[in-house]
Every structure is written in structure tokens, then in C-alpha cells.
Amino acid sequence: MILSVLSSPALVSGLMVARAKNPVHSVLFPILVFRDTSSLLLLLGLDFSAMIFPVVHIGAIAVSFLFVVMMFHIQIAEIHEEVLRYLPVSGIIGLIFWWEMFFILDNETIPLLPTQRNTTSLRYTVYAVKVRSWTNLETLGNLLYTYYSVWFLVPSTIFKALSWGVSLLK
């Protein structure tokens, strides 16, 4: 029930991003979407990711877009006269994507069709979790700095390219 309460504003706000008349609204509606997706991560029990997503997405990305939109007086009204022109072709492409998903997702591991599942017959308690359980941050740090440490250092080159790009474009 909590899942549907938290995810239904995401459905509406996602549509309003594409359809809002004012460009400032189309920057503000993703903030609602990011808040809802981080609450989904909270329901999954990933606390670190659920806190990092608002900090980065809302606090950095949406705020910088808000600066761009509000400093430059981008024109307000967009006339939606040719929106429905793309709808038949893109609707067919969307339906083909949706139909192809059923080839990939077989019903045993990821059930999409309603199946009778017996989830209450076997109970297996993992006692290692009750003794000392790892937090999300500990597990990420355990992997990110040891096994994936080279992968972790590669985005630094991308940030270097970012700083060069921003300084050259000024």
C-alpha cells in the first residue's frame, strides 16, 4: 500500500515533465520524481543509495538546471500543435519494446503473469544477519575501493573533461 502511495505521484509528475507549459515547471516536476524514486529505494532497504539520490539529483542537477532556466528568461509558452504527429509511430515502437520484454523475462525468476506462488511454506532464517549485518555503505565501500578501485578512478578523467569543457565554454 505504501508502495502505491509513494509511486503514484511519480507517475503523474513524470508525465507533467513532458507536458508542462512553463519550462520552470518542467524543471520542478523531476524533483518530485526523484523524491519518489528515493523513497522506493528506502522501501528496498538501501539507505545509503536512498540518501545519495536526492543529494545528487535534486541538490546538484536540478538546482543547476534551475539556475539556467531562471537566469535566462526562457520563453514561456510552447504551442503543442504537432505533438500527436509522432504518436502512432512511437506507439508502435513502444509496443514492440513491451512485446520483446516477454522474450527476455521468463516467468520463473521474474514473474510478470499472475502465478500461484507458495511463499509461506518454507521458512529459512539467516542468522548471520542477526549477529552483525552490514550496512549499505559498508558493502559498497567493501567492493568499490578493493575490487572495483580502477573503475572508481576512471570517472576522475570524466570529471577532468567536465572542468575543461566548462572552462573552455565560458
Binding site: 508502495l3 509511486s7 511519480a10 507517475l11 513524470g14 508525465l15 515533465v17 513532458a18 507536458r19 508542462a20 519550462p23 518542467s26 524543471v27 523531476p30 520524481v33 526523484f34 524514486t37 522506493l40 529505494l41 522501501l43 528496498l44 532497504g45 538501501l46 543509495s49 545519495i52 539520490f53 545528487v56 539529483h57 542537477i61 536540478a62 543547476s64 538546471f65 539556467v68 537566469m71 535566462f72 526562457i74 520563453q75 510552447e78 505533438v83 509522432y86 512511437s90 513502444g94 520484454m101 525468476t109 521474474i110 558493502t139 559498497l140 567492493l143 568499490l144 572495483y148 573503475w151 570517472p155 570524466i158 570529471f159 573533461a161 567536465l162 569543457g165 566548462v166 565554454l169 565560458k170
Partner: protein, 101 residues
């Protein structure tokens, strides 16, 4: 029961992001729809890693890199949009047709 709800929600957000990205005449709206797409993909990765790779966290780690790339691309995109706006005084996407001849 929760897995497919989250997957369907993120597939919906992804398709809405693609729809808004294609049919937007404003550059800023296109970039915000791109952020929507990347966020939906991120939550899908993290959900799959939570349900199937709980010991290894592969999707969670990849989503950290996707967040970094999204932040970088948002910054560069907004810089480019602001410099285009400074030159041409409008942010319509279909205004540069000089290569069409």
C-alpha cells in the same frame, strides 16, 4: 510482488522520458527528460542488484557511476544551452538548420 511493481514503474518513467525528450522543442526540457531516463535506469539497476546479487552489489556500484555521468552531462548540457542562448537568444531545438542545404 514488489519487484515487478518497481520494474514497471521505472519502465514507465523511462518511456515518458524518451517521449518528452523526443517531442520537446525546448532544450532545457529535453535535458530534464534525459535526467528522468537516467534516474529510471538507475533504480532498475539497484532493484535488480537488491533482488538477485545481494552479496555482490553489482547494480548498486554501476548506478554510482551512472549518477556521476548524469551529473557531468547535466553540467555540460546546461553550459552548452546557456552559451547557445547567449548567441541566438532562443532555446528552440529546431532553430539550427544551417546544415540542411
Amino acid at each position: 510482488m514488489m519487484l515487478e511493481h518497481i520494474l514497471v514503474l521505472n519502465a514507465y518513467l523511462f518511456s515518458i522520458g524518451i517521449y518528452g525528450f523526443i517531442t520537446s522543442r525546448n532544450m532545457v526540457r529535453a535535458l530534464m527528460c534525459l535526467e528522468l531516463i537516467l534516474n529510471a535506469v538507475n533504480i532498475n539497476f539497484v532493484t535488480f542488484s537488491d533482488f538477485f546479487y545481494s552479496r555482490q552489489l553489482k547494480g548498486n556500484i554501476f548506478s554510482i557511476f551512472v549518477i556521476a555521468i548524469a551529473a557531468v552531462e547535466a553540467t555540460i548540457g546546461s553550459t552548452i544551452v546557456s552559451s547557445i542562448y547567449r548567441n541566438k537568444k532562443s532555446t528552440r531545438i529546431n532553430q539550427s538548420t544551417l546544415l540542411n542545404k
